[in-house]
Subunit: 99 residues, 5 copies
C-alpha cells in the first residue's frame, strides 16, 4: 500500500453508472524523507475512492490494483485506488515521523 | 485512477476480434503542478477505451489494470485502461485548478 | 494500452509447456514526441505475444497485466503483454503523427 | 517479488473493517548495489502486511499486486503488498551480499 | 514479459508455508542497448521463482503480476514474478544481440 495525502477532490458529472454518487479524492503519494523525520511528496497525482470518511489534509493508506476492489464498498466498482485507512502515526525506531 | 487529457485517436484496422468497433483514444496522464494552480503533462502516452463519450481536449478519469474491465462495456475486452468519467473541476482547498 | 514498435524477436527453446510454439516478439514502448509530430522510444524493452500477425517495424497496441490473457489465444498462457492490434494511424487534432 | 527492509510501522485507528487488527509495516524496497557487494535503498516507501512475524531492521521478501492476497492470512484483505519471507542471505556467484 | 539476467539466489528460511521448498532467484531486468547490439541492466533487482531450471548467468523471460501464477507450478503460490523460459537468442533485423 502507499501512504498518500488528500489534497483535494474532483467533480465528474458524467461517469460510468456504477460510479454515480462516489466521492473522488485527489491524493498525492508521499514517502519518508531521507533523514526519516518527515514525509515528502512524490509529486504524483492519483484519484481514489474512500471507504473510511477521510478528509482533505489527512494522510491515508491507499490500496491499488485489483485489491482496490477487495472491500465491501468498492467490490462492484471500476476502481484501481481505494483509501482503506487514515494514518494516525508513523513510527521509525523510537522516533515518530512528523505528519 | 489517473487524470488524463485526451489528445487524439488511433486507427487500428487489424485488431483482435473483441476490439472491433471499439474507439481507441490517445491520452496523456496529467498531474497537478507544484503550485497546485494548473495541470501539467507527465509526458507519457496511453491508449484507452471510452465508456462515457469523451472527446479530444477533455480531462478524463482513467482506471487501469484489471479494474479497466469492471464496467459493463469493457468486461469482455482485453483492455488495461478505460475512461470512466469526464473531469469537470478539480478543487484544492478553496481554489479550483485551471483545466 | 501502450503503443509499441516491434524491433525483433526472441528464441527460447526451453519454455514452460503452455508457451511452446508461441512466437515471442521484442517490442519497445513509444510515446508521442513533445511537438506531437512524431513518435519517440521510451527506451524500455518488453516481450509480447501476438494475436494479430504483426511484423518487425510495425507499431502495435499492447495490453498488459491480467488483461493480456483476455483474448481467446492468450487465455491459458502465462503472459503479461499481448499485441491486440496494428496501429495504422495516430491522429492529433487535424494532424497525423508520422509513424 | 521485491527485497525490502522494514523501517517502521504505522498506526491507523480508522480502517476498513477487514483490516482491523492487521499490523502495518513501513518498508523500503532495496536493490543490489552496482558492485553487488551491498544492498541500497530505492528511496521508495511502501506499507505491507506481514505473514511471517518479521521485525524492524530485517530484510524481507514482498509480493505485490493481486498475488499479495494469495496467502491464507491475506486472502480476504484489501492489500497489495505482503511480506512472505525473511531474507537470511543473498548469494551472487561465490560472494554473499552484506545485509 | 521482461528479459532479465539471473545474478544470484536468496535464502529465506522463514517463509509463508506454500513457498517452502521454492528456490528464489535474484534477477536483474535488462533492456536492449541504444545501438541495439548488446543488453544493458536496468539496475533494478527482482526475486523470481523458476519453472524451467534456469541457472546463474542466464538470460530468462520473466512474467509478472497475476500472470506469474498462470503456470501449473506457480498456480497456488503468492508470487508476482516467474521465470517461464530461457532466452537463447534475440534477433533484431538481420543482427543477433550479444548476450
Amino acid at each position: 500500500m502507499l501512504i498518500a495525502k488528500i489534497v483535494g477532490s474532483l467533480i465528474a458529472t458524467l461517469k460510468t453508472e456504477s460510479m454515480l454518487g462516489q466521492k473522488l479524492l485527489l491524493v498525492e503519494p508521499f514517502r519518508v524523507s531521507e533523514d526519516r523525520a518527515t514525509m515528502k511528496t512524490t509529486g504524483r497525482s492519483l484519484v481514489a475512492v474512500d471507504t473510511v470518511g477521510a478528509g482533505e489534509g489527512e494522510y491515508v493508506l491507499i490500496v491499488q490494483g485489483s485489491s482496490a476492489r477487495a472491500t465491501p464498498e468498492t467490490q462492484p466498482l471500476p476502481v484501481d485506488a481505494t483509501i482503506i485507512g487514515i494514518v494516525d502515526a508513523i513510527n521509525i525506531g523510537q522516533q515518530q515521523v512528523t505528519l
